[in-house]
């Protein structure tokens, strides 16, 4: 009798738990990229989305900051084994590891930001960085007095070339005579985390006449924007809104709404309508944009704003097509 009662209670409890799990209980997890959660840029954007989700739902989110690329696979597998679901992998460098782990755990939902993994249980979110970069390129060309504009990328990969290429098209759109001087910080993932070198690259560009620099380099960007402030030049931030870093010398930031990507993915999972497949977020979808707030409003004249807004409308309507470097690995269509 006693045993029967015990197992009945256990059964009911299990059934109750299972039904709850099917509807609302999600155990979300996020694995950041090697730049670290507080890079003031890409990862911090994701973190903002995660924090918003935690605040609104009071659901705890497991987080992991890998110190190097070899930990991606391990971390993904650990989270999957603990049946964390969904799991967000931040950054293109996790794609290979995710491809492997997602096959091992077909019932767990994964989301990758910034890369495409073509599996039924993976949601891939990529951005049209070229469109956002085009807009900040227009601003840079209008703000530059010397007609020379700098770009400092992180690791030399097609994704970063896409930023560069969109930026260049924006510059040429606003001022066909303007010149772009580009540098890449390095060829290894360490290039995302080398502010000293970033500062040195930026100073090299300033010495060559550059007066606006666009930093698309993760944590390295902190050094680039600092160098711009030290020399009284203008800096353009990336991913998160970085205008607050140096009010007065930050022209704008190219916003990549990774926070929305992370937040939406968790919300969809919670509501039970999470879907696999690829989402491409551009200007039209609100996935990329440029930042205007109290920290840079003095630098953006009404005329500049009008020009950028016109370009934005044209891109959204399809009148301007911004070429994507990654479509043919070249900046020429």
């Amino acid at each position: 009798m006693k045993r029967w009662l015990g197992s009945a209670i256990a059964l009911i409890a299990m059934g109750f738990l299972a039904s709850v799990q099917a509807q609302t209980v999600v155990k979300p997890a996020v694995i950041y990229s090697t730049g670290g959660k507080f890079d003031k840029s890409f990862n911090e954007g994701v973190s903002a989305g995660v924090e918003r989700f935690k605040k609104e739902t009071s659901i705890p989110v497991a987080e992991f900051e890998p110190s190097n690329e070899t930990q991606f696979e391990q971390a993904l597998r650990r989270f999957a084994q603990r049946s964390q679901d969904p799991i967000i992998a931040v950054g293109f460098s996790q794609a290979v590891a995710l491809d492997k782990v997602a096959r091992e755990f077909p019932n767990i939902h994964f989301t990758i930001i910034d890369s495409v993994v073509d599996l039924p249980n993976v949601q891939s979110v990529v951005f049209k960085e070229q469109e956002g970069s085009f807009l900040v390129g227009v601003l840079a060309a209008l703000a530059s007095k010397t007609g020379k504009i700098g770009f400092v990328g992180g690791m030399d990969i097609p994704l970063v070339r896409r930023f560069q290429c969109g930026f260049e098209q924006g510059i040429k759109y606003a001022n066909p005579n303007a010149e772009l001087i580009s540098n890449m910080t390095g060829t290894t993932p360490a290039a995302w985390n080398d502010p000293g070198r970033g500062a040195e690259l930026a100073k090299g560009q300033f010495d060559r006449g550059v007066d606006v620099v666009y930093a698309a380099a993760g944590s390295t960007g902190i050094g680039i924007l600092q160098a711009a402030k030290d020399r009284g030049k203008l800096g353009i931030g990336v991913d998160s809104n970085q205008n607050h870093l140096h009010p007065g010398t930050m022209l704008t930031s190219m916003l990549k709404r990774v926070d929305l990507a992370a937040y939406n993915s968790f919300k969809e999972a919670q509501a039970g309508d999470w879907k696999g497949g690829t989402q491409v977020l551009g200007l039209k979808e609100g996935g990329v944009d440029w930042a205007l707030d109290k920290d840079n409003e003095k630098l953006v004249t009404p005329d500049m704003k009008a020009r950028v807004d016109a370009a934005k409308a044209d891109i959204v309507s399809g009148k301007i097509v911004v070429h994507d470097y990654m479509s043919n690995n070249s900046c020429k269509p």
Binding site: D156, M184, N193, K203
Partner: protein
Amino acid sequence: MDEALTYVLLMLASTLRVATPLVLCAMGGLFAEKGGIVDIGLEGKMLMAAFFAAATAAVTGSAWVGVAVAILAAVALAVLHGFACITYRGNQVVSGVAINILAAGLTVVLGTAWFARGGQTPPLTGSERLPPLFLPNAGDNVLVYAALLSVPITWWIIGRTRFGLRLRAVGEVPIAVDAAGISVAWLRYRAMLLCGLFTGLAGAYLSIGQNAGFSRDMTAGQGFIALAAIIFGKWRPLPAFGACLIFGLLDATAIRLQGVKVPGLGEVPVQLIQAMPYLLAVFLLAGFIGRAVAPKASGVPYVKEH
């Protein structure tokens, strides 16, 4: 003509900025190496110093206090290294590696615990950084001049003082020094203290001179480059200084050569330019430097005979 001159000056400024931590670190390493202690922990000491410089400057608001604490931190690690391999005669390479790993981990852990910014310190502004002294655009803060001064000082101490003579002897034939009634251990400890002093300055330069704050692994292998410079310079201060400048110059060139179209070659790939310092290192070491002979007692713990 004017343009060419400006270009040369800009390159020179950039070279000095990049070479400063290398020079300071190499001079520190020279004292240890001359005294017969292999110090591959230069990187770790520099990293730890960089962290404490930035952390202290952020909390106290004074760059100078930051420099002082950076030196203390590096000296502490240097003494730890000495404790392991002078007093306890441990393997010097192992102890050096341990210091590098300790510094890489501890800086991030402490940084996360104190500032909650994923291992970074808050960005530094105004008096929390070392200002440029004469040329606002060249970034010539006091530590750049300290690096330039450290070379003749090192040369003088090692080559012209009684302490230097004994230090060199201790690196070659410690038993002779011991026989003369001079403490081998104390000499080597003093070498480590000097090593800590210079690597401390190098670290402080990185986080509060060149940059405005500490970030994870910001030394990025420069301690090892400094070690290579010591070997390049055959364990002598002036040639080691030259080697540091060559590394600095190559780096500065690499930065300015990126994306520039070279006549006849077109645009040089980034990868090739960034491999240049290392290619040159191999080339020089194989063909031009000749045999680099380390101090004889290098890496050998001294066991006092009774």
